[in-house]
Symmetry: C2
Subunit: 374 residues, 2 copies
């Protein structure tokens, strides 16, 4: 997507053909800084320090981290060490393990002197595959925005609401929830996006607002409390959010607060869609509320917040009285009954076991391994 | 209530018997500072600068402002000027106008040399009446907490959730939503309160957490996004919130985000109660969503936040990228269908026209003025 008119991805090969460059997302929204990664260690730090975040982007950065490692030392020993080092950065990230297994499985079969070239090629493919997946999500979701636009007078914008950041910054390009919005913007549809700030980490206020603004998409930042009021008054035509984990029956585990917006959408007849690549679907679980453990993060994220001082420095300030404790649940689960549909790279389906089985027949119960083997 | 063991109200007469003292709430939660008000102007500034806030406390401070004015100059001219000056501080505050009308109506009938004494006496009565009202709300709400406690094992706390600050800091003492909690704490019931931080002005994180902490009530601050997840997992037994305006059929207009918590409570079978003095009831309106205009405040409250720096200074920091706009709706309306009951100074009733008419028969339709006159 564009940053003030210049097209960017979140990760790319440097002009010299071996180093890797990223956008340092820890500096957003107050500064746009790119970083050059030359070593495995630099790639691991970029993931661990959350300079890159978002499941697809973490996977892409890990793949390039393996390429940087092979560039320096293609030995089997270094291959194993680099795999372990990268995996330890964000141990619970599904795409991280997938990308590392993909790279290691390929590279182990090759002679050391073939590994670097193959690693760069596969890392580039992983990036391109992610871009294609996200662009396909965008294309399928576009139809939903076009449908909403047909109910509007000429020039009156479609009002969308999104929570957290499921934009291009979380992927290699396009994003998931924001991909349909970028597609609609590309088509010239009049749009306006309500951006939930998304406490405690404020990914909406910091990242979603930044990427929409730099690409030129009209938007307004609101506190997480505001969406219900807007929906009561017809100010939201369509909600689109992302998901970190989707169950086989269509429950979605996404950033804390998503469930509250889904309840408000349901109460006011506002369509509530969830955009996802198939990699977020966990076919082994069904009841998200009962089965998905919710990560608790550092209470300091609730007790303090970082922002830009009038002097132009980023500072952390305390929000609560000394002695008050905080709890910090990172995600919540939105039951499928509150989800109007799932927007995947294969199309839009109902948030149900049948809906998902229709798009992913290879995962449908009748194709479960024990029967496919029979 | 207690501040580290010392009983306080939010406003009181100084030991010298004529000046007035307040807690400067703009300094909370990072500093506990009391201020001495000696003039009408100081009282007006205390209201205008939100050193005192909350409808009942604003009314009490205005009443004492009139007393300070009469102490300095009891002339009819100063009486009229002081009324106007105080009314201009927060023009939309219902209790402010009520308290000023009460004071001016009384004082105009008296000779100038009798005005100061009468003003101090009536201001003190207004404070005591508010305390009695809030304590009665606390007594009636206590029964709901006791009922929840009967479903708990010994020592297991009743988990309450509240939004914004409807505590003693918003009144003269006890508060509205927190009054039942203080009553239950006084009885020795095991309690734990989830405190919504309440963006954008963070009255929960700043004021509710401070007053619960100083009084010794166990509590945990959460972001506004978290309540739905907690209710899904049985971690909330009872919600109690306040209201700024209540319609004749029981819709409640309270701080933005209240509606989302009411939806989550309804979806999870968690009782959702609203505590209010009768002064918040507007008998002239019924459909809160359609009829109550929602104030929009300065977008800077969303774009920036104030907190305590590590150096111990209060600083404002920007949260969003330059160029991103924000919208700042101050309140939302929770329809009566989502409210389990209203806790008033006269008892607990259903959130309905019939429920309110049962407690306030003098306002019931059959007692409407045109029929009472017939």
């Amino acid at each position: 997507m564009l940053v003030d008119g210049v097209p960017y991805r979140t990760i790319w090969l440097a002009d010299d053909g071996w180093a890797v460059e990223i956008i340092d997302q820890t500096r957003l929204p107050h500064a746009f800084v790119t970083r050059r990664l030359e070593t495995l260690q630099a790639a691991a730090n970029a993931i661990g320090d959350m300079q890159v975040r978002g499941a697809p982007l973490i996977g892409a950065c890990a793949a390039y981290g393996m390429a940087l490692a092979m560039h320096a030392d293609p030995s089997a020993d270094n291959l194993a060490r680099s795999y372990d080092r990268l995996l330890a950065t964000r141990p619970t990230a599904v795409n991280l393990r997938w990308a590392l297994d993909e790279m290691a499985g390929l590279l182990r079969e090759l002679s050391p002197n073939a590994r670097a070239t193959a690693a760069y090629r596969r890392a580039a493919e992983i990036c391109d595959e992610d871009v294609a997946t996200c662009e396909a999500i965008g294309g399928h979701g576009l139809a939903l925005i076009e449908a909403a636009a047909r109910g509007k007078s000429a020039g009156e914008p479609v009002n969308l609401l999104t929570h957290c950041n499921a934009g291009w910054l979380a992927t290699v390009d396009w994003g998931t929830a924001l991909a349909p919005i970028y597609k609609a913007h590309e088509r010239g549809l009049a749009l306006h996006v309500w951006v939930d700030e998304t406490r405690p980490r404020n990914q909406g206020a910091a990242l979603t607002a930044w990427e929409l603004g730099r690409h030129g998409v009209p938007h307004t930042v609101i506190v997480d409390n505001a969406g219900g009021h807007l929906m009561q008054h017809g100010r939201v035509d369509l909600c689109i959010v992302g998901t970190d984990r989707t169950t086989a029956r269509g429950d979605v585990c996404n950033k804390i607060g998503t469930y509250l917006k889904a309840l408000a959408a349901h109460d006011n007849g506002v369509p509530f869609y969830v955009a996802l690549p198939h990699s977020t679907i966990d076919w082994t679980i069904h009841d998200g509320v009962a089965e998905i453990p919710i990560e608790q993060r550092d209470p300091a994220e609730v007790l303090e917040i970082a922002g830009l001082t009038p002097a132009g420095e980023v500072a952390r300030v305390a929000l609560t009285p000394a002695g008050s404790a905080a709890a910090n649940y990172a995600f919540d689960v939105t039951p499928a009954r509150l989800v109007s549909g799932l927007i995947t790279e294969r199309g839009v389906c109902a948030a149900s076991a049948d809906g998902l089985a229709g798009l992913y027949p290879e995962h449908a119960p009748e194709h479960a391994p024990e029967q496919a083997d029979g």
